[in-house]
């Protein structure tokens, strides 16, 4: 695409901006002593990251977990993650915590009906059911809706 065409179209500029944005779903575990710190607030203010809370849980002893979808530039994202680690919370990609057990999956496709993110989908031609961890939001619906219990999620 030539530069002049690109400049003419605001829609395409938006698209370009979006492309520069980096987005990743992370899972944060924090302990009771830092539950009062405004960590998410600082991610927004200091690192210019947009967030979407996919899941938040607080346990009886006030420790808890947060599943966040963070969006920003790659640089800010990396700085934000460094900040979180320094603040004393554990941070992991959500995708590490959700797996499709290949020994158990029968590739029936039932999950395609209920997984609303498209993370579980049928591959063309082979009709194998594949799992794209980057799309998964950790909603956990598949844990009980997959008939042979092939989806394994451990957020704790």
């Amino acid at each position: 695409m030539t530069r002049s065409v690109y400049c003419l179209s605001i829609a395409l500029m938006d698209q370009k901006l979006k492309e520069e944005q980096f987005s990743k779903k992370i899972i944060i575990h924090y302990t009771a002593d830092i539950v009062d710190q405004p960590i998410v607030h600082r991610l927004v203010k200091d690192y210019d990251l947009a967030f979407n809370i996919l899941k938040a849980r607080i346990f009886p002893r006030r420790e808890g977990l947060l599943v966040l979808d963070l969006t920003g530039t790659k640089e800010n994202f990396d700085r934000g993650i460094r900040y979180l680690k320094k603040a004393g919370v554990t941070v992991e990609p959500l995708s590490d915590r959700v797996t499709q057990n290949q020994d158990k999956c029968v590739h029936c496709g039932a999950c395609v009906a209920f997984c609303s993110t498209g993370a579980l989908y049928i591959e063309d031609k082979t009709f194998k059911v594949l799992f794209d961890p980057e799309k998964c939001t950790g909603c956990e619906l598949c844990v009980t809706a997959c008939p042979p219990r092939a989806m394994e999620i451990n957020l704790l």
Binding site: C108, G109, A110, V112, A113, V129, P147, P148
Partner: protein, 393 residues
């Protein structure tokens, strides 16, 4: 000059199988062969077409004989891993049904129930060689004095373990949608409100009974792939209905034929006999079935070349209609549409997902093709036919 039409007998085909000379293809491959070479050539060339299906099949279960105990017991109440089995057969025989739920399960008291364990899982555990806790109660007789007995067993310790499924491999099945305003949890999977998705079963043009719509070769005594072993068709299945509405190609456009299957559970493999927990519905059993179809003549070649474009299912509302016993079709869709991932109903595009595994169905058709090709599996000629209707000429 008119060429003589090819005719083959079971004996001729079996002779070729024994010699390793039979030409065997899957139902998917047959479509292309007939497309390319035409019916006449394909009939001459191809001896057997293999089919397959892998889906949760309720109306499955196993007869088990657990052997006599000392002192003897006439077991009238039986549990396997706390799942009740039916004992009103004889002293030490029972039937464990696929849909029986483990005792004490909360069922749907918190809806949708999870149904984590039941008869289907017991059968899978047996096939996998896992230890099963057997618990027996009897009322005591002079010849069978014991009233209670418990022991751990694996499938090897059972005298006999016979898979006997009264209704499998439905020839066709409904496509399900939900027209209500709430999500529903059915044996056809999770259905979102206001027709937001559709689900369907059967492996379409790979599915056994679609490839022999009038049951000419699929009959009582037909040898099949069942759960990874060689099994048989024992009878027509319950609810078998040959009188369903059929398309011009003879293929039923709604639920029609079914088969009852039988085989030795001890020879089966958990890859093809797998327990299923269906959210909000209950327990079931995935069963893998493959049926070889001999190409006896041109009719059989034509039938086995059927493709998804020409196989149709009826769409039903599982929100209101089906639960109230109203069988009102909302429309007809082809398996080509279903397989494409979306259907169009009343002008609306609806994502469609299967509940039966096409991937595994294809694998079964492939295994059966290999067995027959190697001469390890001979065709079983039906000893009697399933009830059918006249083939239009």
């Amino acid at each position: 000059m008119k060429k003589a039409k090819t005719k083959k007998t079971y004996e001729e085909i079996n002779e070729r199988i024994r010699k390793g000379k039979a030409v065997v293809v899957t139902a998917e491959e047959m479509i292309d062969i007939v497309d390319k070479d035409g019916i006449q050539e394909a009939t001459k060339k191809i001896d057997v077409v293999t089919t397959g299906t892998f889906a949760p099949m309720c109306s499955s279960g196993a007869f088990l004989n657990f052997g006599h105990t000392s002192p003897r017991i006439k077991a009238s109440r039986i549990w396997l891993n706390d799942v009740p089995a039916y004992g009103g057969i004889a002293a030490v025989d029972c039937y464990i049904g696929a849909t029986e739920v483990v005792e004490g399960d909360p069922l749907n008291s918190v809806h949708p129930g999870e149904f984590n364990y039941g008869g289907g899982h017991v059968i899978e555990d047996l096939v996998a060689g896992n230890v099963i806790r057997l618990r027996l109660e009897g009322y005591g007789t002079d010849c069978y004095p014991a009233r209670k007995h418990e022991k751990n067993m694996t499938i090897r310790d059972f005298r006999d373990a016979i898979l006997f499924n009264p209704r499998n491999a439905y020839q066709n099945y409904n496509c399900a949608v939900n027209m209500t305003d709430r999500t529903i949890y059915t044996y056809m999977g999770v259905l979102r409100p206001r027709m937001a998705n559709a689900t369907y079963s059967t492996s379409g043009h790979l599915s056994p009974l679609f490839n022999d719509p009038y049951y000419r070769t699929i009959g009582i005594g037909t040898k099949i792939f069942l759960g990874g072993a060689q099994g048989f068709i024992a009878w027509w299945g319950t609810q078998h209905n040959p009188h369903a509405v059929r398309g011009e190609n003879g293929v039923p456009m709604e639920g029609a034929g079914t088969i009852a299957t039988i085989g030795n559970l001890k020879e089966m493999n958990p890859r093809w006999i797998t327990g299923a927990s269906i959210l909000g519905y209950g327990v079931s059993l995935y069963v893998g079935i493959g049926i070889p179809i001999p190409i006896l003549d041109e009719d059989m070649a034509r039938y086995t070349a059927v493709k998804n474009d020409d196989i149709y299912a009826q769409v039903y509302d599982y929100g209101m209609d089906i639960p109230s016993g109203i069988d009102k079709s909302l429309g007809t869709v082809s398996y080509r549409e279903l397989r494409s991932g979306s259907i169009t109903l009343e002008g609306k595009k609806i994502p469609a997902a299967p509940v039966s595994s096409y991937y595994r169905a294809r694998e079964i058709a492939g295994i059966l093709k290999e067995w027959i090709g190697k001469g390890e599996f001979l065709l079983g000629q039906p000893q009697s036919h399933l009830p059918s209707v006249e083939m239009p000429r």
